[in-house]
Subunit: 659 residues, 2 copies
């Protein structure tokens, strides 16, 4: 609370010295120590107020004036004004002292000008800036919660890279404003602030790294606050001032997402009045398979390498009522792994939504993709860079998000992020996702990430052994897992049934050699068997982890036959790996496995249709052998999708699972 001690210092007795002008902030109490003003301890105080001003005793009694009180009973008073002045010095308080005999000893006349400035935001989350919302300076989760929200809409949020901020970055015209949040500096009353009064906007050093604030929006915007500027003077005007706020970086290990902005009314370096607002920067989020897709992206490789594949996939897309967008050469330079270079997530605030591409540090041919208008006119971009070089585990085939789950009573309405890591006790030369990526995922909070084990695969992506498909169950989905065991079972059954000469990979080439191999030959290979037994154990380990972290039971899991070859101790698919499928609503684009045929019917396909068909899923087996399988991936690796976000908003949940 401000105090008016300085009056005491004026001791000469000229008339002027007894008149003191001051600024009073609306609703900001001012304490006056009468005992310091009084000429003698046993004086009688007389108070006379003019204008809308409230006076309280130290015991918070309201004092109506004129009043006469012994100083001892009233050593100090507190003044509060509830309304602003439309004229200078329109409130006054006359403090006079006299002795018991009523002889006047001294007097002071205080004149006040009452000012109100207000910093407003959309604290009630309806997309409209409020008027002095009482909750504007705090942030609360949930439907009944409050607190303003900011989205990051810089083209490049690369906080961890070198040039983390381009000086003087202007708003990119009107478009940029669409994704900005707004603040309003409201003033009323006096058309001009009293002499010596100034308004300042300020943030902490840390906050300045995270946001840009612009004024002069009508002229294209001018930076008030940026990473190099923590404090700015607000231009003198009697009008409301509309400010745009732009987030520069997503929450991360060194940033919890909350930013605080203060508006101060300052006179002679003393803060008379200040108002505070808080924003939370919206997290980056991922969309699970079970959400319906807008668009499927695929590289259109040169020499028509995947032309047939694209046409096959297009027909599946057509049935699923999804569009297919084959990306021209210039954006991929024949890099077929559309899944690995980017993850198409999103970020949102009340009335704002943009897709946001997380760019993998993988940086191969598809790194050019983000030069293209990818998802829509405005989409965000974020990247995390590291001093350490990326491994295959940093590709986003090694990143998934589960559909919504409830685990031991804890609800994850936006699912949980899953990525693959290592098990040093098992793996030599272990690989793990870069820390900058792991930190980023965890910092987004909402999709509570966890790590599983993918380093046993030579490519090291979780989409080589797991995937999610929609299902008409209470949970709404099934986890599908690659299963060598299931594959061996099927092959043994075929052998028993006298089909041991049926061929896998029939008529296909591998390393310039025919890839045909009979059921008998596969079963007669003890090395292959022991390796697959080992790989099955790794998958089982993940199975248990996934059951635990996603609250799944065996009934929620489906095994698809798969076989892995040994590649210096790590695994790579022996035939096209069906689990690496693409989910488009009820339609599944599945790598054609080229399994043993009986009556022209591939037995692997038959099995998969047998287990997935009953879920209302339509299986489309597409030949991806040459363009993808032979290069070490499948359909899921070779495609990417932008999906409809969930209708629920992240700020409406109460993330009880937060650490």
């Amino acid at each position: 609370m401000k105090s008016l001690f300085q009056i005491k210092t004026s001791t000469d007795s000229s008339e002027e010295s007894r008149i003191h002008e001051d600024i009073l902030g609306v609703d900001r109490p001012l304490q006056i120590y009468l005992e310091h003003l009084a000429p003698q301890e046993d004086a009688i105080v007389s108070l006379k107020a003019r204008g809308e001003i409230e006076i309280y005793s130290p015991t918070h009694q309201r004092i109506e004036t004129p009043a006469f009180v012994p100083l001892k009973q009233l050593p100090s008073i507190t003044l509060v004004a509830r309304t602003f002045s439309d004229r200078l010095n329109d409130r006054s308080l006359e403090i006079a002292f006299q002795d018991e005999t009523g002889y006047p000893l001294s007097q002071v006349q205080l004149k006040f000008t009452c000012l109100q400035v207000c910093l407003d935001v959309d604290a009630d989350r309806d997309g409209v800036v409020d008027r002095n919302n009482p909750h504007k300076s705090s942030w609360k989760w949930g439907r009944e919660g409050h607190g303003a929200i900011l989205i990051v809409n810089t083209d490049r949020d690369s906080v961890h890279s070198e040039n983390q901020y381009d000086e003087g970055e202007r708003l990119r015209g009107l478009l940029d404003l669409q994704d900005s949040s707004f603040m309003i500096v409201r003033r009323a009353g006096l058309e001009e602030l009293p002499l010596g009064c100034e308004l300042y906007l300020s943030v902490s050093q840390e906050t300045a790294q995270r946001i840009c604030i612009y004024d002069e929006l009508e002229n294209g915007g001018n930076e008030l606050i940026n990473p190099n500027k923590t404090k700015a003077k607000i231009k003198q005007t009697d009008r409301d001032i509309l400010l745009a706020v732009k987030g520069l970086s997503y929450p991360d290990i060194d940033f919890d997402g909350l930013v605080e902005i203060t508006l101060s009314l300052v006179k002679d370096r003393e803060t008379i009045y200040s108002d505070r607002v808080i924003f939370r920067v919206a997290p980056w989020m991922m969309t699970p398979n079970t959400l319906s897709p807008f668009m499927v992206f695929v590289s259109r490789l040169s020499q028509g390498d995947n032309e047939t594949f694209i046409e096959d996939l297009r027909k599946v897309a057509a049935q699923a009522n999804v569009q297919l967008d084959p990306v021209p050469y210039e954006y991929h330079k024949d890099d077929p792994w559309m899944r690995d270079e980017i993850e198409i997530g999103y970020t949102q605030a009340p009335g704002k939504f943009i897709h946001v591409v997380l760019d993998s540090p993988r940086d191969r041919g598809l790194d050019h993709l983000t030069n293209r208008q990818l998802i829509s006119s405005s989409f965000g971009y974020v990247i995390r860079k590291s001093r350490h070089s990326a491994t295959k585990l940093d590709s986003f085939g090694n990143l998934e998000v589960s559909p919504p789950v409830t685990v031991n009573g804890v609800n994850y309405p936006f699912g949980r992020i899953i990525f693959g890591g290592t098990r040093p006790e098992i793996i030599q030369e272990p690989r793990r996702k870069l820390k900058v990526l792991r930190d980023f995922f965890f910092a987004q909070k909402i999709q509570a990430p966890f790590e599983i084990f993918s380093d046993w695969l030579s490519v090291g992506h979780i989409d080589e052994f797991m995937n999610f498909v929609p299902a008409p169950t209470a949970k709404g989905f099934k986890l599908i897992l690659a299963s060598p065991d299931r594959c061996y079972q099927l092959l043994q059954q075929l052998q028993k049934a006298g089909h041991s000469q049926a061929l896998l990979r029939q008529g296909k080439q591998l390393y310039q050699k025919p890839a045909d191999i009979s059921v008998a030959e596969v079963l007669a290979n003890p090395e292959l068997a022991s390796h697959n037994q080992r790989f099955q154990e790794y998958i089982n380990w993940n199975r248990e982890t996934l059951k635990q972290e996603l609250g799944l039971g065996e009934e929620d899991i489906i095994d698809l036959p798969a076989l892995f070859d040994n590649d210096d101790g790590r695994a790579e698919a022996f035939f096209p790996n069906m689990v690496n499928l693409l989910v488009l609503n009820q339609h599944l684009a599945i790598p054609k496995p080229f399994g043993p045929q009986i009556h022209q019917q591939c037995q692997f396909e038959a099995y998969v249709e047998g287990v997935l068909g009953p879920l209302g899923l339509v299986c489309h087996f597409i030949d991806d052998w040459d363009p993808y399988f032979r290069k070490g991936g499948e359909i899921h690796c070779g495609t990417n999708t932008s999906r409809q976000p969930p209708t629920q908003k992240w700020w409406e949940i109460e993330p009880m699972f937060f650490s």
Copy 2:
């Protein structure tokens, strides 16, 4: 449905003539009359398709190709493509004819390029532009409803005045965009449209009068559609194009508020593909007394004429936690009637809200008010002008809105607009609100207006005899009415109790003469009595109308003592008219009536406190005699308020009461 009849016309037999290239709209069926293409009736048709294309028979059977069918069985086919092309002519259909012997007769090869263009709006009302929302081309009321919404954010919506539209009005910088709605023209696939293809945006002549559409937002905006331009070409680009849409006029007698916008893909003057969206222009709405106020406006008259009044009012505002904004001379030129020149309403859309000032055709000193930043940085303005000159009934003291009511089961969650008119059978030289105003009110629909009788008053404003105050009842409010009868009752009681010499209007001046008059003198005036009896009948007539139209009972009405003088047959207040009070939350600023006093207690004030106090209302009687009463008005006439809008949104209701 488009048809491919023109092929028939190419009759020469050169190879080229049999190859036909065409554009196909995604999901837009194309019918081909084989019978017109066939060389002979008994031919056999052979069909061979390439690429994602569906073929149907006249009986809607799906036809897989290659197919061989007698022409008789297949006189025509229908083609549909579900996905767009990323390369020219990537779909084809070969139609060959042969005779029964299999001898080839003729053939045509059709090559198709499939295009999809999409015009998107925020049809689900979440403030974000959707992607091809299936409901975007229709509009439905209610929580479960759909349809995009537009607000009018021109500075001056004066459709009915002369210069109704300023050519080439640019967007006023970024600020204007805040209140604009958006559309997105989405394209995908081919980076360039095929030769000869163009995109057009178009609206009807009528719609063009109501909106402006802008492109090139990043460069300050360029007008595509405006009142002088119903059709515009969309610039060639592979990017999404963001368009801003701005409403130019509110619904009115000649405009139901719905605007339809069409995007067409045209080749060689033929429309190949078109997409349609609908917006509803948000209505202008009023805020009832029961909503809590942001700000009270009052003219600060020169020579300090109302300085004391302002200070008294400020103290009431302070207690009600409301701010008071005394407006300087330049904006009112000593026009004290703040209520009469403007009505501060609002308009809103998802994520958008602005206060909107309706400017009365009254046009006295306060007409300058709208040059001032009145409510906030962005507030709208609307005026309705007429060839006929305005009367006192066109002032907005003669305009009110009720709190929410339910009448015979019909719910009016935003209350009903009420304005005063005449009763020709009773009144000579009858006056009525201008038709342009009445039409405007009715056209806004939501607040279902009705007209009552105010022409019996010389000033002719309903706020001279009626008002609403909040009340802790089921309805949430009480209607208060001026009552001569109640006044006479009180005076007679006083006379009985021997106070016949008590003075009304004590110590006050009227027409440069002392205004003092005793209870006895008032009661002894038969003329005054008979006039007030007549005025009471008019009030009673309104009482019944209000009960009917607002679904009120006697228990919802409170009578306040009032007395009227005769002014050429019409009424004017005899002493300050208490019903003309200002409601600030639970606090009432009431004109001090200067009624007869007993023990220094004004008996009129005592009565009013007696009936309003129990409702939790705090009565503040303010002396408005000199600055307002003597000039023919009171506190309500001399003030205006901006109020918090209701939380409910107008588009969420289903207005069953619409005519």
